[in-house]
């Protein structure tokens, strides 16, 4: 017997009651997800494409650096700092050396300070290249990323000339550098100053007036200065909101007060402002490197460490022939140096913000306590609260523009 089917009009609701379209969906973004560039997990509740609420889970690559540091002599902590923000490890290395030098009251020669400035600004450029390049990728523009990545490769070549390593650099020692910059290094730094500006200009032109990019990023994740300060933000993302806080200018270290550079600030605090602030910071870093190279010319040649034999390892050939050098070598390697019982806080302007080292010494071979104030950890805190109400795709470019580095987040 035939039964006529009921035809459903295309607009009729599929479910009369208990419509699943009204329910929220819980979605796990991460821990490993191609859009998050690292190990981040966010459990979000979504209504369609809009995020209603979320929780960030962090700690997937926690390596207990603070605990390890309590069991290592001071010079063995430098490789740990490499692995905090691994996109700009020289800044972390220098920050750690400066912390210990502050504790030990070591005066660093001007030439060494300028060398450090060069290395740190190169690292800042390398870090901002990645962040802005990836932001381009996440908004759908892959080509910019590839153009600038070549220049990051060149910066890594400069690191190689200076210290032999590329990513986890371990540059320098407490008291200066382990060796002088060679001629090739200086040559490459000068070459970088010539070849990078046109590339950066081209990169910038791809984006800053690009209609698609502007509409994709402007007014996305806008943050007011009050909110940013409330969440203890620092670095480029704080400056994008309009607060001109930069550790290099506020509490100058490494003679930054002698350099002429501007602090770019944004007005809106959105993703577009963060992109522009980082771009402008790269130009300012170039200016600083240029000035540093000029200043180095005027300093006596061949000085690459402070004259502190009790804290700086003597040259190896002297260790075999010279009694004093042997004693100092032994004492330094065994951690037998006289550290005062004191506590210091030293902050440097990392690529993501204020990177602080809180060091408590009890006079022993190892720090009694070492705490890293990690900008990524503190900056990332607002991500989940600020994401509610956002589209998923906006939250993803928001995350790229925060430039959270998993190593620094989890320590």
């Amino acid at each position: 017997m035939s039964k006529p089917i009921t035809r459903i009009s295309s607009n009729a609701p599929v479910f009369e009651d208990n419509d699943p379209q009204e329910d929220l969906i819980t979605l796990n973004i991460g821990p490993t997800h191609p859009a998050t560039h690292g190990v981040f997990q966010n459990v979000v509740q979504i209504d369609g494409e809009r995020i209603v609420g979320g929780v960030s889970t962090i700690g997937y690559i926690h390596r207990a650096f603070e605990k390890i540091a309590e069991h290592r002599p001071y010079y063995q902590i430098t490789p740990l700092t490499d692995r905090l923000n691994y996109c700009s490890s020289p800044i972390n290395n220098m920050g750690w050396h400066m912390t210990v030098e502050k504790l030990l009251d070591i005066e660093i020669p001007k030439r060494v300070q300028y060398m450090r400035v060069i290395v740190m600004e190169l690292a800042r450029i390398a870090d901002h290249i990645i962040c802005n390049g990836i932001l381009g990728v996440d908004t759908g523009a892959f080509s910019g990323f590839l153009y600038v990545m070549q220049e990051r490769e060149f910066i890594y070549e400069i690191y190689e000339e200076i210290c032999g390593a590329r990513l986890t650099t371990n540059i320098g020692r407490i008291g200066g550098f382990e060796r002088d910059f060679n001629d090739v290094a200086f040559e490459k730094i000068r070459e970088f100053l010539v070849r990078f500006p046109p590339v950066l200009k081209e990169f910038q032109e791809l984006f800053d007036r690009n209609r698609i990019f502007i509409e994709r990023t402007s007014n996305v994740a806008a943050v007011t200065p009050e909110q940013a300060l409330d969440y203890s933000w620092s670095g480029p993302i704080l400056r994008a909101t309009g607060v001109d806080y930069d550790v290099r200018a506020h509490s100058p270290y490494c003679s930054y007060e002698e350099f002429d550079f501007d602090i770019p600030v944004g007005t809106n605090g959105d993703v577009y402002d963060r992109f522009m602030v980082r771009n402008e910071e790269m130009w300012q870093s170039m200016r600083i490197i240029e000035q540093a190279l000029e200043k180095i010319e005027k300093e006596p040649k061949g000085v690459f460490h402070a004259d502190v034999p009790a804290f700086y390892l003597p040259p190896k050939e002297q260790v075999y022939t010279n009694m004093e050098a042997l004693i100092y070598h032994f004492k330094i390697v065994m951690g037998e140096w006289d550290a005062p019982k004191e506590e210091v806080y030293q902050a440097v302007e990392g690529a993501n913000g204020e990177l602080g080292f809180y060091l408590i010494s009890d006079g022993g071979r190892t720090p009694y306590r070492l705490h890293f104030r990690r900008p990524s950890f503190i900056n990332y805190q607002m991500f989940a609260p600020m994401s509610s109400g956002m589209l998923i795709s906006d939250a993803i470019i928001n995350m790229s523009s925060l430039n959270v580095i998993a190593g620094e987040l989890d320590a």
Binding site: K67, E342, V344, I360
Partner: protein, 167 residues
């Protein structure tokens, strides 16, 4: 505008809190002082909201474990007055049997994760914290790993002990 000096901060705090703030020192020029847990929130609120001092930026919260002291844990706050560019370090010592301290997370939203991290590693109970869970370690760790009694390596290993080096 007058410049904010460490001496000025000390006199302002002593005018309000009297002998509740003590042990002032300036290691490397950074004003360090101690207070107790009943006073800490009032103190943070005062220095944050004082129109002249304006310590509006919370740099960091962490803790230190001193097993040999009577009050074993020091909770350390670093606060920064951006307008004067003055930093201040405030310590609160609390006992191991009663490791409680009021939360600062309603003064600064940024304190939320810093306090969670401190709880995670030291077991400091921040009272009134909206979400005091472990943050970096796994939830079922069961210990607070930055306390000095938890060894990093094999505790029977003696070749790294300081007494071999004349200390």
């Amino acid at each position: 505008m007058d410049k904010l000096t460490n001496q000025l901060v000390i006199s302002k705090l002593q005018a309000t809190f009297g002998d509740k703030v003590y042990n002032f020192s300036e290691p490397k020029g950074l004003l360090t002082l101690e207070t107790d847990r009943e006073t800490i929130i009032d103190l943070l609120m005062l220095i944050k909201e004082d129109e002249f001092m304006q310590f509006i930026y919370l740099t960091d919260i962490t803790a230190v474990h001193y097993p040999e002291l009577e009050k074993e844990y020091a909770v350390v706050y670093h606060v920064h007055s951006l307008i004067h560019n003055v930093r201040i370090r405030i310590k609160v010592f609390i006992t191991a049997s009663d490791p409680r301290i009021p939360t600062a997370s309603f003064l600064w939203n940024g304190a939320n994760w810093m306090e969670r991290e401190t709880y995670d590693f030291f077991g400091i109970q921040f009272e009134g914290h909206p979400d005091l869970r472990r943050i970096l370690n796994m939830d079922d760790l069961g210990v607070f790993p930055m306390r000095k009694e938890y060894p990093l390596e094999d505790p029977n290993r003696v070749d790294k002990k300081d007494f071999y080096f004349g200390r």
